[in-house]
């Protein structure tokens, strides 16, 4: 009983596109994240290398992982919304 979606949505034409895009973006971020882990365990001294302004690779890479996550999220949202709007216009037409 009482088993239906929280909000009934129509068929999402953009679902396939969003799924593929999400996986690609996860792959991109995952690779950057894995490189971070690999450097830490394989060449820990490299993390202490000063990169810019007296800040080492550990700090720059750490901040970059946070900022890249946000940038990818904005790009993903923008691309998905654009695609959804395209299908909405198609449907209206």
């Amino acid at each position: 009983m009482l088993h239906e979606p929280a909000a009934v949505s129509g068929i999402d034409e953009a679902a396939g596109y969003k799924k593929r895009l999400g996986l690609k973006m996860l792959l991109v971020y995952g690779v950057i994240y894995i490189i971070f882990i690999v450097i830490n365990v394989a060449w820990p001294k490299v993390m202490g290398t000063i990169v810019v302004g007296g800040l080492n690779l550990a700090i720059i890479y750490g901040f970059a992982l946070i900022i890249i996550a946000f940038v990818l999220a904005v790009v993903y949202n923008w691309a998905c919304t654009r695609h959804e709007k395209y299908f909405e216009r198609e449907k209206k037409a």
Partner: protein, 662 residues
Amino acid sequence: MGEVKTLAIVIFVVIVALVLFVSFFTARKARSAHGYYAAGGRIHWGVNGIAFAGDYLSAASFLGICGMIAVSGYDGFLYSIGYLAGWVVALFVVAEPLRRLGRYTFTDGLDAKFNKRSVKLMAAIATLVVSIFYLIPQMVGAGVLIEPLLGFPHWVGVVLVGAIVITIVATAGMTSTTYVQFIKGSLLIVFALVIVIALTVRGLSTEPDQGGRVPFYNYKTITATQTDGAITPNDPAYQVVGQHDVKVKDKTLTFVKIKSGDITTWWKLDSDSAGVTLHETQQLVTQEDGTKLVNGAPESADNKLRLVGNVSSIAGEMDTTTGPVNPFKFLSLIGDPDTTINLWKTVKFTEGTDNVSVFYSVPVAGDTVVKPGQQFKVAGSWVDRVDFVSLMIALFLGTAALPHILIRYYTVPSQRAARKSTVVAIAAIGFFYILTLFLGLGAMTSSTVNVLDNNMSAPLLAESFGTFLFAMISAIAFATVLGTVSGLIIAASGAVAHDLMDRFGGLIKNERQKVLAGRVAAFVVGAIAILLGIAFQGVNVSFLVGLAFAVAASANLPCIIMMLFWKRTTSKGMVASMIVGIVSSVGIILFSPTAWELYGLVATDAPIQMKNPGIISIPLSFVVIYVVSKLTKPDMMSDQAFADSRANPAPQPAVAEAAPAE
């Protein structure tokens, strides 16, 4: 101190009153199950995004990470990176598809294409297990906060939080929880930023005095001579009356008991080619009758352990103060190889009938605290390295599988809103996590670390800027606990009332009964959380949070990912994967060195030397779901059949509300 307490209490009461007001004000929206569990699906995506941040920035995130950075440097920041990275998984692969499937809970989403009782049962159990494990550290955190803030014992703090949260959840459900989280998330980020600005304006000092409020204490060093093992201080005012060797990992530390006047204290012995030196420490001695001696004298309001942590040289300069610096300069000065930071370590031993805890400083070069290595020995043995990788995997994959985070996808009106609120959450949480590095390193260098409990580092750093910031940040930290506990109890009560009683047991006949069941379940789960919070007093908060992440990533994530991306997934595969995920992750932790220490045993005797189970339990869970699904008959609804079932749902009871429009 009295003034501090009064202001802290006033601000605390105002924030709790605000929380309760919001709760009762929004209660009218919780009359239906949809309103109670999913806030009517009408929360604005911006509000929901900040509420996500409020849910996620729990006591462990806020207090635990800052505390860990304050004592271990960059290694604590690894938690910030991992916790944030997990949101990428949540946004890119879980948020929208899961929202398309579900109604109220994680179980709904998982079971949407199967409609099997076994899936409902296991998913509900997984939700309960993860929620309760996540609840314990929050309740313990409440007790930790309440003690210095209001002067109540630990158990009063736990009961107080439990009672307030049960009231909130049992009256209003997800709507109030969302607004509570929104208010708390906003306040937390704003005030963390204020502290970081104040920190960089103050700059670094080799003799931090907390804005002139607490004089900096210079720990003494005396020279001594050692003849045939006997140590004699060169200053006749000091007499050696005892000695104790303590084995710490692969080296032996020597502590010398010295009498000076009427006071007897423990000093740390260092010897090298230049001679023998004795360094003053802090100590807490608990005698057989329970009397506590702090640094040789009875513990009292005026004789407590001093707060610690400072830089003894800044970029090679002794006795200096930098004045205002920009945030990047602040980090680069701390990370300079010629900066020396005094980190504090603890050893415990018994001497006769006395239990002795000695806290001693270890000077380290600045560049070693701004890279991994203080806590996670990435340059150590292969077990240490695997452990580090395991932790980073669990953090990355755990977020997307936390039930109290997943249910927030159902509170917004559309998939697009779910996606946008996740982007807002990533922005807010990411910004906050960047601030944690400054907060932690600031506490480390401002003499604001409590040697007994580093969880209070952030509030104590705030206190070094004055009473108001301390009172405010402590009250926000308390609201943090309130908010997170509310979200967790909602998720857990949903698992009991909606998943187990209604969908699994078929015991619920109408909407009214369902909301009532949710409220009763919230009361029961809250009561259990209170008892566990009292029972687990003193247990490391991060240990428990790590367990919750590992269980979530092992039990839930393989099912979510495979169900969304592999059409051949079967219900039996999912059930088997959840069982194996829970048993393997919890099992490994229960036999880990950390658990062995909790049992009072020797850590090195633990049968499994890994502390983080993710690297074994997560792949194992994936393998199980793949193999069992391959061996069993396909039973997942096709996309078309699922779309048809949604387009022509089975007749609903007359009381069921209309779902909001997309």
